[in-house]
Every structure is written in C-alpha cells, then in structure tokens.
C-alpha cells in the first residue's frame, strides 16, 4: 500500500512538470465523475433513501405495487433480453457465417442490408411492426384480411428488438468469424473431417466466445431499449425502462422511478462486466486488420444454397420494414387509402421544423466534442501513467453498460439544483450526449493507439516537441480514421437517441426522436414515418459529408459499417 502511494506520488510529480497534461487529466477526471458517476450515484442515493435516511422502502414499495406489476415488468424485461439475445445472435450468426464462410453470392449487398438498421432510430422497428402487423397492417389486414390484429405485447416487441439490434451482433460475429483462419478448417478437412464435423468441432467452438459476447451485448441493449417498448409493449406487458419513465414523468415519483432504474441497472451492468472482463478475455484470436477470405469449400453446395435462401429471407424482412416506412411516409392514410401524397411531409415541416434545427444543433455540437474527448482519453489511457488512469478508462467506457433511462433519470436528479441547475437547458442535453457517446471514440482510439509504436511519439519528443505538440502533430493525425469513425457513430447516436434524452428535452429544446414518438403515440403513423425518413436522410447526408472530408483532406476512408 505504501509502495503504491509512493509510486502514485512519483507519477504526480512527473506530471506536474507538464502543466497542460496535468490540467487536461484533472479536467477529464472531474468531468467523468460529474457527468457519468455522479448521476449514477444520485440514482442509487435517491432510490435507497426515504426522508433523508437509508431505507429499502422504495424497493419494497415498487415490488408490491399493484399486485407485483413492476415485478412483472422486471421479469418481462429480462425475458425480452434473453429472447432478443438468443434469437438475434442466432440470426446474426447464420448471416455472418454465410457471408464470411459460405461464399454465397451478393455478399456486399447482404452486408449493406444488415447494417442499415444501425443508422436508423431504434423505434423504426416498432413503427414497422405497427404498419405491417397492426390493426391496419399491410400483412395482417391487407394480405391476410385479419381484423383487429393485436401487435402489442411480447411477439411484436421481440420482432422489433431483434430487427433493431441484430446488426450489432452481426458485426461482432463477423469480426470473430473473419479472424478464424480458414487454414484451420483446411487443416481439419485434411485430417479427414467431413464438412459438418468441421463446423461442429472447429468453427463453432472457436466462435463460442464471440457468440457469448454478442448475446451479452444484445441482452444489455434489449434491457436498455426504450423506443420499441414504449410503442409496442402496452399495459398488458409492462417493460421496466418504460415503467421507470412513466413513474417519473407521469406520476412525478422520483424515488420510485430511481428504484426502478436501479433495478434495471443491476442486470445491465452485470452482463456488461461479464462481457468485458470474462468473455472478451476468452477470445481465441484477436481481430487483426486483414480479414482472411475463405477460399476453401467448407460448406457443401446444398448447405450454401440453403444459407443463401435464409439470407435472402432475412434481407427481405429488413427491406420490407424500410419499404413500409417509405411507403407509409407517402401514403395518404396507412391501410385505408393507397393514394400517394406529400401531406405528411408538409405536416412534419409545420410542426417539427424547430425540432429538426434543435436536433441538428445538439448533434452537431456534441459530436465533435465527444469525438475529440474520446481521442484524448484514449491517448491518455494508452500512453500516459497517472493516478486515476484505470478509473478514466473504466468510467469513460461505462456508458456502454448504462441503460439510457437510468442515465436520464440520473441527470434530472443530479442537475436540478444549484450550483448545477441545468434542467431544461441546451447544456444538459449536450453534456448527456457527449458523455454517452464517448465510449466508441475511446474504444476506437485505444485500438488504433495500441497498434502505433510508442517510439513514433518518443521520436517527436526527442526532436523537441512537448506533449501538446506531440499529440497535435503526430498522434492525432494517426488517429484520424478512428476519430472520424467515432464522429459518424456519435452523430448517428445523437440523432437517434431517445431513452435518456426524453427526460431532458424541454419546451425550448426539442428532439426529433421525441417528436416522432409523440406522433406515434397520437396515432399519426404516416407523419411518424415521414419524420423518420427525414431523420435517416439527414444522417446519410452527414455521413457522406464526413466521408468526403476524410477522403479529400486525409486521403483515407473510414466507416463504421465496414469496420
């Protein structure tokens, strides 16, 4: 212990010779504590307090509330989490395996289709479910002639969540499968294994850690999902994140809302920690830059045909979902009239223009900040030794594990009194977005930096550069691709965010996503579809701009969609 203190003290002394570095580290540590840890702390404190003293009454209250209604919500949330994790991973595995191993035709196309849901708001799935399978649904009413089809409940929600989160699993599993060298399969074949045996004994066991990782990530995502259940869950099938929201905005009961948030937090954080510290360490092969294309034929022709058909079906479902959104946006009245019109867009323009500007302003401001801070943190964490380094890494990545609902509740609890009274301001939205979408930049930056030989930076120092110049002239330029990837990611996330943001919007600062939700809730499906389409169009345009800058100015390409 004494050793540790002495060595930390030495670190500190060393840093204090570089005041800029020390200042940046202190500022970041304080910010991380204030905008990530403190809101969480508030959730915990408020949930465990009654009249200013420790109590678990809030928990016993919510558990016994209305014959265990919230207990049911917890159970439903966990159930949806497990179901989405299993089904989403299963479909993603088939898809990823077909694309990396089976040599099916149209791989580029399938890859593109699978990644589309990433750039669309998370409730698109819910919207599509209503449009396709709802009372006036295209499939249910028009094709099957069903009357009063009911999509509200677990099945509709499962469909929406799998659709929304399967791309995350797909990208994870694709990375894992690509990193398994085809020579292993060749070797197994050489040793006389038949194709199915090879899959069972070589490919599948090697991808188990990836599968576990993907399931845990989907579980966390599903638990945290807010948009889909708000639309689809319904009163019969309560979901925890939505109930926590209603408890606070509907009934103004902060203590109970915080207790529900805390209950939601426990499984999320557990799954995240399991993934981060256990499963990811079991990965056999780390993903290296060069994907090895399989040239062998480990998949029999029959199996290949079968996989191709399955991929076509999956792609067809995704296309149907997006086609229905486009169609719905232009339809005069979904399900009742098939006449095309632009009236939805006119309506959206009228009621939603302000929110488009607000959203653009917020995303436009928070994105470069999140990206830059992410790169700085990655740099510090990989390259510098200082007290609080582990904490900096952990807390900056923690947002991955925190359901937006919990963060949103934490923010309103934390920043509603002086000296940190931020409720209703632009600042609270900005801070929330910056610190929520930090992790991707940090992660990407860390990955890049670990590949850059530290002596490149030492060479700059050796030639007389201080830490500021070294970072600006050498490190940052080398991190540019990771930086732009994180920009795209945080822009997409800022534009499509809802779960935390819905607590923080105000009459002055509106978000498109929240507006879309309220259109859905008031039954204006066409307007919601039109609004969503505009949102996706803005995202695509921004991505194109970012990529263009990258190409023209830095002669590199980067994409979150193709690694």
């Amino acid at each position: 212990m004494k050793q540790r203190i002495i060595s930390s003290w030495h670190d500190f002394i060393r840093l204090s010779k570089d005041p800029l570095l020390l200042g940046v580290i202190l500022l970041l540590l304080i910010s991380l504590v204030l905008f990530i840890i403190y809101p969480l702390y508030k959730v915990v404190v408020v949930s465990f307090q009654v009249d200013g003293s420790f109590s678990i009454k809030n928990f016993t209250d919510v558990m016994t509330y209305s014959n265990g209604y919230y207990l049911k919500a917890l159970f439903n949330s966990l159930l949806m989490g497990v179901a989405t994790a299993v089904l989403g991973t299963f479909i993603a595995y088939i898809f990823a395996y077909s694309l990396t191993r089976a040599n099916i035709p149209g791989r580029k196309f399938f890859n593109l289709i699978a990644t589309i849901p990433i750039i669309s708001p998370p409730f698109i799935g819910a919207l599509a479910v209503i449009m396709l399978f709802g009372r006036n649904g295209f499939v249910s009413a028009t094709l099957l002639g069903m009357q009063n089809a009911n999509v509200y409940g677990p099945r509709g929600l499962l469909f929406a969540q799998v659709l929304t989160f399967f791309p995350v699993a797909y990208i994870t599993l694709r990375g894992v499968l690509e990193s398994i060298s085809p020579t292993l399969e060749d070797a197994a074949m050489d040793l006389g294994g038949n194709r199915f045996t090879i899959f069972r004994k070589v490919t599948l066991p090697l991808s188990i850690p990836g599968i576990a990782s993907s399931m845990l990530v989907l579980f966390v995502e599903s638990l945290a999902d807010f948009g889909n259940p708000l639309v689809l869950a319904g009163a019969q099938f309560p979901i925890l994140s939505v109930q926590a929201y209603l408890e606070i905005t509907g009934m103004g009961n902060f203590a109970k809302g915080a207790a529900l948030a805390f209950i939601l937090l426990v499984p999320s954080v557990s799954a995240y920690l399991l993934q981060k510290y256990w499963v990811s360490k079991k990965q056999y092969v780390t993903v290296t830059g060069k994907p090895t294309q399989s040239s062998n034929d480990v998949v029999s022709p029959t199996a290949r045909r079968l996989l191709f058909v399955v991929c076509c079906l999956i792609a067809a479902v995704i296309i149907m979902v997006y086609a229905s959104i486009v169609w719905g946006a232009f339809a005069e009245s979904w399900g009742n009239s098939s006449k095309l019109t632009v009236q939805n867009f006119v309506y959206v323009w009228r009621v939603g223009f302000e929110s488009v500007l607000d959203t653009l302003a917020i995303a436009g401001l928070s994105t470069p900040l999140a990206g830059t801070i992410g790169m700085v943190i990655a740099f510090l964490v990989v390259r510098k030794r200082f007290w609080g380094r582990k904490f900096m890494e952990f807390s900056s990545l923690l947002s991955f594990a925190l359901p937006g609902t919990v963060v949103g509740i934490g923010y309103i609890l934390a920043f509603n009194q002086h000296p940190l009274y931020l409720t209703g301001t632009l600042l609270i939205l900005l801070l929330n977005f910056i610190f929520r979408y930090l992790p991707v930049g940090v992660q990407g930056g860390v990955a890049v930096l670990k590949q850059i030989d530290p002596s490149i930076e030492e060479a700059a120092i050796d030639l007389g550069a201080d830490s500021n110049k070294t970072f600006r002239k050498v490190t940052l330029p080398l991190m540019i691709p990771a930086f732009f990837s994180s920009l795209i990611f945080s822009f997409v996330r800022s534009m499509t965010a809802i779960s935390a943001a819905i607590f923080l919007v105000s009459a002055r600062w509106k978000l498109m996503t929240v507006q879309i939700m309220s259109q859905v809730e008031s039954g204006r499906i066409g307007a919601a579809a039109a609004f969503s389409l505009i949102l996706v169009a803005i995202i695509l345009a921004a991505m194109a701009v970012i990529k263009l800058i990258l190409r023209l100015k830095y002669h590199t390409t980067s994409s979150i969609l193709s690694h």
Partner: protein, 360 residues
C-alpha cells in the same frame, strides 16, 4: 559534449503488484568524451536500452546522476535534452513525407521555412536521399527508412546521438554497409554517440570504446582490442568472440604469472590484478591462439579431432581431450602450410603465451 553517468540505477516496479521490483540497471558509471562513439554491448535484457533511455530522458533513473556537457540534466525532460535518438523501429512518422520527417525537428525549433529546406536538402544529399524527398514512408525500403531516421536525428545538430539497435531490422548485407556508414557520418559530424547493440561484430566495428553489460552491471569498459584480448572476467571472454577456458592454480607472480594447469607449470603475461598466489585462476585462450600439431609430450594437451570444418583459408577444429568435458576449439590459418587433420586423428594442442590471458 561529454556524457557522464554517475551511479545510475534503475529499479522497475510491477504495474500490478507494486511490491515486485526488478533492477534493470545497477550502479553504472561511465564518462563518454566529446566526439567519442561508445557502444553498450550485452545480451538481450541486460539493461542497455534502459540506460540509453535514461540518457535521452524517456526513463527516469531511480538513483544516480546524468550529466551532459557537465550540466546536470536529471530534471530536464526529454524534449529539452538536445539528444537525438535513432530508434530500432526507425519511428518514421507515417503521415509525413521524407522531407517533412527530416524537417520535423527544425520546424519545432521555429526555424524559417527556406532555411529548413536548405538544411534538409543538404542532409539528404549527404545521406543519399535526395531523390526521395517527397516519398511517403511506406514507399521506402528498410535501408532508406534507416537513413531517414538518421538524417532526422542529426539535422537538428544534437549534442548527443543515441542509437538503439539501429540495424537489427536490416538484412545481413545492408547491416554491414550501414554500420560503416553510421561510423563515417558520426566521425564526419564529430557527434558524441552512444550505440546500443547485442551484436559484438557491430560493436567492434563502430566503437571507440565498448561498455559490456550483463544483468544491469558494467562488466568491462574498454577499446575493442582490450575487450577482446584482455577480458576482465569469464562473462566478457565468453560473450565476445569464442574462447577456451583452462582452470589452474597460481604458483608465483613476478613480472609474469606462473600457473599450474594439469600438473604442469606455465608462464603467462600478468594483467589482472585480481589474480592472487595460492588461488585458482583461469586461462582464456582464443581459438586462433592455439596451434595444432602432431601429438607430443611437450604439447599443452593431446587429444582426438572430433570435428574439422574446412573453410579454405582456415580450418576449425574441435578436439576432445581426456579429463575435459568441453572440447577445445582451435582455428588453424593457412592449412596448406600447417597441415590438415581429419576427424579421428590424434593431435597435440599448444599455445603461444602472449596470446593467452589470465582471469581470476
């Protein structure tokens, strides 16, 4: 522009378990004179790089002082030390062209663009890089990258030039060529230089003096000739070149040294002060200091040829001798004159006392 290390010690503590310590450099003292090129030579892990990084300022010593030009620089950060390092990996900035790489240090000093251009052009001409100025680093061969790294290091006119195994990523032929080139440029500019390597041939060819290290400690400091012919201990004798060791008992020390080996007495030149009468000592005999002849009673040892490798100008023999586990290694030059022996032949081994060296 001298460099002086006084009692330099570096103790690393384990990042995860702070109670675990490891002494990488142990009480190193050395004075490197202006314009001199000194090599730190030793096996991998002996602390060479760490010592070099302490001089450059990348690593802070646990104990001891570093003086550059008589000025104490312990608290001077790396970017203010005015030493330049040529890295093992070259550490060329991948996002800058050759010219930009070389001019990087000058630009940091705030020198005018036109002057930077002149100086960069001049150094590129010296290094044979003139045609490559606008190339990206990825378009350079290993040897060219090495030159860029060297040019970048010397264009800023550092007081000290530091090399960390600069040639280890090159193939053998280029390595030989670059080491003479490095030496030429070092002498041309007269820059005080420190060169880290684990390759003794490299150390021999580039250095004014060699500092042999093992387990963080200096084993011997001297000219290449001294290191090879008068090693101070078993480690140095064994690490530099090849050596046969013969144990004996010291009988008498006057102007020479009398040693009893294998029940016979021999006289050797006396250099080592640690050798005492009545104590055991070891004779170091290099393979080229031994002579192979017909077996005879005057021979140092008689034995059987176990292996003979004929290389034209030389023959290398391994001779097994009764009572010794290690075979004796001998090299015979001019085999036409001295005769060629075959595996299984009985031979005698004798030596020339001047080429022998006694260590304690």
């Amino acid at each position: 522009m001298s460099v002086t290390l006084v009692n330099i010690t570096k103790i690393f503590t384990d990042q995860d378990d702070k109670s675990k310590e490891f002494t990488a450099v142990d009480s190193v003292n050395i004075e490197i004179k202006e314009g001199e090129m000194v090599t730190f030579l030793g096996p991998s892990g002996c602390g060479k790089t760490t010592t070099l990084r302490i001089i450059s300022g990348f690593e802070k010593q646990t104990k001891g002082d570093v003086f550059i030009d008589g000025q104490l620089v312990n608290d001077l950060p790396a970017n203010k030390r005015n030493s330049s390092m040529v890295f093992q990996s070259y550490a060329i900035f991948p996002h800058l062209t050759v010219e930009q790489n070389i001019g990087f240090g000058l630009e940091l000093k705030g020198i005018k663009k036109s002057q930077i251009k002149n100086e960069v052009d001049a150094i590129m001409a010296t290094m044979g890089l003139s045609a490559l100025g606008s190339r990206q680093p990825s378009q350079l061969s290993g040897g060219q990258q090495q030159r860029v790294a060297l040019a970048r290091a010397i264009v800023t006119k550092p007081r000290v030039l530091l090399f960390d195994e600069p040639l280890s990523n090159l193939d053998a032929k280029l390595r030989d060529q670059m080491r003479t080139e490095i030496r030429r440029i070092q002498q041309q500019f007269g820059i005080t230089s420190i060169y880290v390597t684990h390759d003794q041939a490299e150390a021999m060819t580039v250095s004014d003096r060699i500092m042999v290290m093992d387990k963080g400690r200096i084993q011997q400091l001297g000219t290449p000739f001294e290191i090879y012919s008068r090693p101070t201990n078993h480690f140095v004798a064994d690490f530099i070149g090849r050596a046969n060791f013969f144990k004996g008992m010291v009988k008498k020390i006057d102007t020479e040294l009398t040693l009893e080996i294998n029940q016979k007495e021999y006289r050797f030149p006396s250099f080592n002060k640690d050798v005492k009468v009545g104590k055991r000592a070891t004779v170091v005999l290099r393979p080229e200091g031994l002579k192979i002849e017909k077996p005879n009673d005057q021979a140092f040892y008689n034995g059987v040829v176990q292996e003979a490798v004929y290389l034209g100008s030389t023959v290398e023999y391994q001779i097994t001798v009764k009572g010794r586990t290690e075979p004796i290694v001998a090299i015979s030059y001019n085999p036409v004159k001295e005769g060629l022996y075959r595996v299984g032949d009985q031979v005698g081994v004798s030596f020339d006392a001047v080429s022998a060296h006694v260590i304690s």
